[in-house]
């Protein structure tokens, strides 16, 4: 099953110069690392991704190269709230101008908040594949966003503790910078 999507077309169909360039670069990389196993060569029909990953991990360990970070995660009392006004108006040029002189924000009452996640506790081990299942609207995306720090528009409770690799950040997260990349 894992072979089904590998190399579906004949590589010789590509432009010759491009193909030669790629083969040369593959040869450069693999010859520098003194690897001759065709299962690790992506330009070969017998390429095996599992074997490639294992080879990379083994080389990193042997040559003492720093490998990518592995991290567990612990969260306690994870409570996330979202807030939005019940009616949202489309901004126009007029409203944008008028908003400069709009002082009603100063005394606007509390915005409606809704608690999305209630007091979750959990542990994510290093190297673990965790499946988060839930009905639409039950907070799965919110949970993922809270763990990875994409909390613009969300409000994490002050009692919540989220720790990575055992380190506790000293200050509460600010809403301006974002930790991870969003793809």
């Amino acid at each position: 099953m894992a072979r089904a999507n590998e190399r579906v077309t004949n590589p010789n169909r590509t432009r010759d110069g491009d193909q030669r360039g790629r083969e040369e670069s593959q040869n450069i990389v693999l010859s520098k690392l003194r690897i001759t196993d065709p299962r690790v060569d992506p330009s070969h029909a017998a390429f095996d991704f599992d074997r490639w990953s294992q080879t990379v991990a083994r080389l990193r360990a042997e040559l003492g190269v720093i490998s990518p970070p592995r991290s567990g995660c612990v969260f306690r009392r994870l409570t996330v709230r979202g807030s939005a006004s019940p009616i949202r108006y489309q901004d126009t040029v007029w409203t944008a101008l008028v908003s400069l002189f709009d002082f009603s924000k100063l005394w606007r009452g509390a915005v409606q908040t809704k608690t999305i996640l209630h007091n979750l506790d959990g542990v994510l081990q290093k190297g673990e594949l965790l499946l988060v299942l839930g009905m639409p609207g039950s907070g799965c995306t919110t949970f993922l966003k809270a763990i990875t720090g994409q909390t613009s528009g969300l409000d994490i409770d002050s009692e919540t503790v989220i720790e990575y690799r055992g380190e506790n950040p000293p200050s509460p997260p600010s809403s301006t910078r974002q930790a991870g990349t969003e793809t």
């Binding site: 990389v29 390429f47 990193r60 594949l129 499946l131 990875t148 793809t183």
Partner: protein
């Protein structure tokens, strides 16, 4: 959290967002170049490393045949929807981060591609921690249910049982 763990956490959203006029290979090469570490295997230049890793990811996720096709979006014609999803997946897999969250990554993929993708994540998760949010239960270690299922559905039907599962009820 944000200032100290920047770059260690990735959230992959459900809808794909790419530069529509870049080819698949260019998209992945850009992503790979952004995430190439300074500590590489000795003797390996940055360019060679990026090209090699991109080639591996193209082959592993079945994108080799479209590597010179532009990605496109709703307005620009490019690769198919399933392939665009796989570009998203490959781009996130290139990142090699500590904790990675995937929001419904197999939406629009056929079951063979979805299973292939889960196999790849399983392999990659030996190097990192993962969340997975999708409906493929077969290879997960743990299962976290974020909604209290009604009693008749409390026995989910899957073949390879996750070793442990936790339930948590959230009131919507």
């Amino acid at each position: 959290m944000k200032s100290r763990f920047k770059g260690d956490l990735v959230y992959t959203q459900e809808s794909d967002q790419h530069f529509p006029h870049l080819t698949v290979a260019q998209t992945l090469e850009f992503a790979g170049a952004m995430r190439t570490p300074r500590n590489r295997l000795p003797g390996l230049s940055r360019t060679d490393r990026v090209r090699h890793v991109v080639e591996v990811m193209l082959v592993a996720f079945g994108l080799f045949h479209v590597r010179d096709t532009i990605v496109g979006d709703d307005h620009v014609r490019g690769v198919s929807g399933g392939e665009r999803k796989r570009v998203t997946i490959a781009e996130a897999a290139l990142a090699e981060v500590a904790v990675s969250a995937w929001d419904n990554p197999t939406r629009g993929l056929d079951s063979a591609s979805a299973l292939n993708f889960v196999h790849r994540l399983r392999t990659l998760s030996d190097c990192k921690t993962f969340f997975l949010f999708s409906f493929s239960l077969s290879l997960s270690d743990h299962l976290h249910l974020s909604h209290q299922w009604p009693r008749h559905a409390s026995q989910p039907r899957y073949t390879n049982h996750p070793r442990r599962y936790s339930t948590d009820s959230t009131r919507c």
